[in-house]
């Protein structure tokens, strides 16, 4: 059996080597299969990504073509959209109106007879809307599109308000006795309660006649008339006539002081002239300075030019 030992050893070593190589080959094949499996997964992923890439390219191409075919406005559309949307939510702001005028194409030549004006711009206009005797001026009627019915209603309201104040004013005006160079002095006291009532009733009347928008404009256009009527009692007004001597020349001067909320304003002393007679006092002296001079028994200068109240 000794002779078999060496062959057995050789064959055993061979078997061991064979086993070793078999195991190594098996491991290598396993590794290769694992790599192949992973590669297969990767290949599937690559195929999926490739398909997705192709699909995305087509999608991008289609979207770009779609975008290129869309005709965008020459000017930024967002401005117009913003303009219209802001008007829907908050109404037309003053800042947006010039742009809206431009887009609407409002020009002087749109009409031979009329011009289109924004309502907001009307607030800046200084207009004497109420004339003598409480009559609305044609201009304010044109501007505010006041119909004949509305006009009649407003004028009635103005005259009634003025009448109420003048009735109260005639009753409560104070005459001061002449003293020294002061030839005449009349004081119309303030009556805030009356003023508040007349203002409120007048506002309600205007609102009912022409609506909220035009009520605010009417208040602006009637402001001069209201001031002429001592703010309907809100302020006290005094009229003073005095005699002054300048050299050897005697002059008659008058001034009208207004006291409102603790502050004073004055027209200053001015020579008597028909135009300088305060309108408020015409309810007491329709003839102006002449009626006043007659009432207070002083003589007007010789060169005093008589004039009608309309002057």
């Amino acid at each position: 059996m000794k002779k078999l030992l060496l062959p057995l050893i050789i064959l055993g070593a061979g078997a061991v080597g064979l086993g070793r190589f078999t195991r190594l080959a098996s491991e290598a094949r396993t590794s290769a299969r694992r790599c192949e499996a992973e590669w297969s997964v990767l290949s599937n992923g690559v195929a999926r990504l490739t398909a997705e890439k192709a699909a995305l390219r087509n999608e991008i191409k289609a979207t770009r073509q779609r975008l290129s075919h869309w005709s965008l406005p020459a000017e930024p559309s967002s401005d117009l959209v913003r303009l219209m949307q802001s008007a829907q939510s908050n109404g037309w702001s003053q800042a947006a109106l010039p742009e809206l005028r431009r887009r609407l194409g409002i020009t002087w030549d749109c009409s031979p007879d009329y011009v289109l004006v924004s309502k907001a711009s009307l607030k800046g206009i200084s207009l004497n809307g109420v004339g003598g005797q409480g009559v609305l001026t044609p201009t304010v009627c044109d501007v505010l599109a006041i119909t004949p019915e509305e006009r009649a209603s407003l004028e009635s309201l103005v005259q009634r308000t003025a009448g109420d104040y003048l009735v109260w004013m005639k009753t409560n005006v104070t005459r001061m006795e002449p003293s020294g160079d002061v030839l005449a002095k009349y004081v119309i006291p303030a009556n805030p309660e009356l003023s508040q009532r007349l203002m409120f009733e007048g506002g309600v009347g205007v609102l009912g006649a022409v609506g909220a928008e035009r009520t605010e404009l009417c208040r602006n256009f009637a402001m001069q008339w209201v001031q002429q009527h001592a703010l309907l009692g809100q302020s006290s007004v005094s009229l003073i006539v005095r005699r002054s001597i300048e050299g050897d020349r005697q002059r008659l001067e008058a001034k009208c002081d207004t006291t409102l909320w603790g502050g004073n304003s004055s027209t200053g002393w001015a020579d008597l002239s028909p135009a300088s007679f305060p309108d408020l006092f015409r309810a007491l002296f329709p003839g102006g300075w002449r009626d006043l001079a007659q009432r207070e028994n002083f003589a007007l200068p010789d060169d005093f030019q008589d004039a009608s109240p309309a002057q």
Partner: protein, 554 residues
């Protein structure tokens, strides 16, 4: 192995040649028989042992290689078989019996008493020898071979065989001498060998052969053939064959392993390359996704913008239709739901857009709207009016002079504490007319005669500008009317400064305006810069005041 023995065994193994096996038996039977007889001292038992050993040889004949020693194998097999038989009590009894018989059956010369002592240990001595020495002695003495035959069996020359035999005898003798046999000389040892070399009886040989052959296989087949062939190889041949047998599958498997390793490496390389690919691809896809999302979003925005724009255009068209419908409405009413109203153009003259012109030519928006000025027209108009007021101011300043005259209208006792400055501007004449007419002509070109007339034309014709801005109205009237500009300042008040600016016949501010509390600033608004800087600003500075109108001027 003797080539002849090996050849005979091969014939017996491969072809079942009994004559070949018989020849082997005849050649080596004496060795087997003599050895068995010497150990068992019983011829019958020796024959049985010889029979068994040769039968074993027949069975194992395929295992022998050319370089195996058949005599050595037979001797060892015989000893093993005899030892097996001699175990136990039987062995002792047989020895006693044999000893008794020896006195009758063996004529032992008296001169050979030492020889008898050596015989029991002879086999131990032979086994103690090296195999080549033992084989030499077995061939020489138990098979009665000549030295030449011994040399041939050992593969050496005759003289070398003789030396081998002699050397083996000497080492055998030494074995005995070491165990106390002083008489164990070479001769005694050789004699012991010769004495124990008993030839097998002829009949015994024949019987043994007949009984051994049946147990031998007739011929070998299948795996045993291969094994016999393998056994028939020398050690080197066997090793080479084994190496070949082992190397073939190992080499084959190595090749497969190598191929598998290559395959694994290739797969790994492919995988590594494949791993790099998706990263770039994924990056591309992500970029394309982002691009697609961006474009989709842009498209959505464009669509929404288009929708919104179309809606806005629709609303604008609807609004335009309604607004322009106002111009042609026969039954016009105040449009509560529209931002525009219509105003008859004659009413514009009554309103007087000229009241919207200010000192530096700035035009109020309401005035611009009344004249339907475009932004460009408004800018151009303001530029022309600004140039007019500036030029008139410079002209007036060049002609103006200070006077200590207090206009009669301003002589109020209440205002006696006021400081005042009056500047007189004489009629500026044709030069002023030229400036005004030039401006009117410019406005006529840019706005058209109708609107230029409404703006300043009517005031030019009337040479009267009630309610107009102080200086702008002054510009219209200065050509033919002398003007006095009087400023009044009251600095006696601790927390405010009262100031007023008046133009002859017209009140610029309707009274005195207050300065800002805590600030030494007053506003002489409506006065041209030239007149202000030449006459009034320095005067104000002397009182520690500043004309803020300068700072507010465009």
């Amino acid at each position: 192995m003797n080539e002849h023995d090996f050849e005979l065994l091969r014939q017996f193994v491969r072809r079942g040649d009994q004559s070949a096996f018989a020849a082997i038996v005849r050649r080596h039977l004496d060795l087997v028989y003599a050895t068995a007889l010497r150990k068992l001292e019983d011829s019958g038992a020796a024959e049985e042992v010889a029979q068994d050993v040769l039968a074993a040889l027949a069975r194992k004949a395929w295992q022998f290689a050319p370089d195996d020693s058949l005599p050595a194998w037979l001797y060892r097999a015989t000893l093993l078989e005899t030892n097996r038989r001699l175990r136990g009590e039987l062995r002792r009894r047989r020895r006693e019996q044999t000893a008794a018989e020896l006195g009758t059956t063996m004529n032992t010369p008296d001169q050979q008493p030492a020889l008898h002592a050596l015989v029991p240990l002879l086999d131990d001595a032979l086994l103690a020898l090296r195999e080549r020495d033992r084989v030499a002695l077995l061939l020489r003495y138990y098979e009665s071979r000549s030295l030449r035959e011994v040399g041939a069996a050992l593969g050496v020359r005759e003289d070398a065989a003789q030396k081998r035999v002699a050397g083996a005898l000497e080492r055998l003798a030494q074995f005995f001498r070491r165990r106390g046999f002083k008489t164990a000389t070479l001769a005694a040892t050789a004699a012991a060998l010769e004495h124990t070399a008993v030839p097998a009886p002829a009949l015994a040989a024949s019987a043994i052969l007949q009984r051994a052959l049946p147990v031998a296989p007739s011929a070998l087949a299948g795996l045993k053939v291969l094994l016999s062939r393998f056994a028939g190889l020398t050690k080197i041949q066997g090793a080479a064959l084994s190496l070949a047998l082992a190397a073939a599958p190992v080499s084959w498997q190595w090749q497969k392993n190598r191929a598998a390793q290559h395959q694994a490496l290739a797969a790994q390389a492919t995988l590594d390359a494949a791993r790099a690919g998706p990263r770039a691809l994924l990056s591309d896809v992500e970029r394309l996704r982002a691009e697609s999302a961006r474009l989709t979003l842009a498209a959505q925005k464009v669509e929404e913008a288009q929708t919104e724009q179309q809606e806005a255009l629709r609303q604008l068209d609807a609004l335009r239709t309604r607004v322009f419908g106002l111009l042609s409405a026969t039954n016009y009413h105040w449009p509560d739901d529209l931002p525009f109203v219509r105003i008859p153009k004659p009413a514009i003259r009554q309103i007087g857009p000229g009241k919207g012109i200010h000192a530096h030519g700035k035009l109020d928006n309401w005035a611009a709207e009344l004249l339907a000025l475009t932004p460009e027209e408004q800018q151009q108009t303001q530029q022309s009016l600004g140039e007019l007021t500036r030029a008139m101011g410079q002209l007036a300043a060049s002609r103006a002079y200070e006077t200590n005259y207090m206009p009669q209208r301003l002589r109020y006792s209440d205002w006696s504490v006021y400081k005042f400055k009056t500047v007189a501007v004489p009629p500026l004449g044709s030069q002023a007319d030229s400036l005004v007419n030039q401006t009117f002509a410019q406005l006529g070109q840019s706005l058209g005669r109708e609107r230029a007339q409404l703006l300043i034309g009517d005031a030019l014709a009337a040479k009267n500008c009630p309610d107009w801005d102080l200086w702008v109205g002054g510009c219209i009237e200065l050509a033919s009317t002398p003007q006095l500009f009087t400023a009044l300042v009251n600095t006696s008040s601790s927390d405010r400064v009262a100031v007023g600016l008046f133009r002859t016949g017209q009140s610029g501010c309707g009274g005195l305006t207050g300065g800002a509390p805590g600030k030494n600033e007053v506003t002489l608004w409506g006065l041209p810069d030239a007149l202000s800087s030449q006459f009034f600003d320095r005067w104000l500075n002397q009182m520690g005041l500043t004309n803020a109108e300068i700072r507010m001027a465009p």
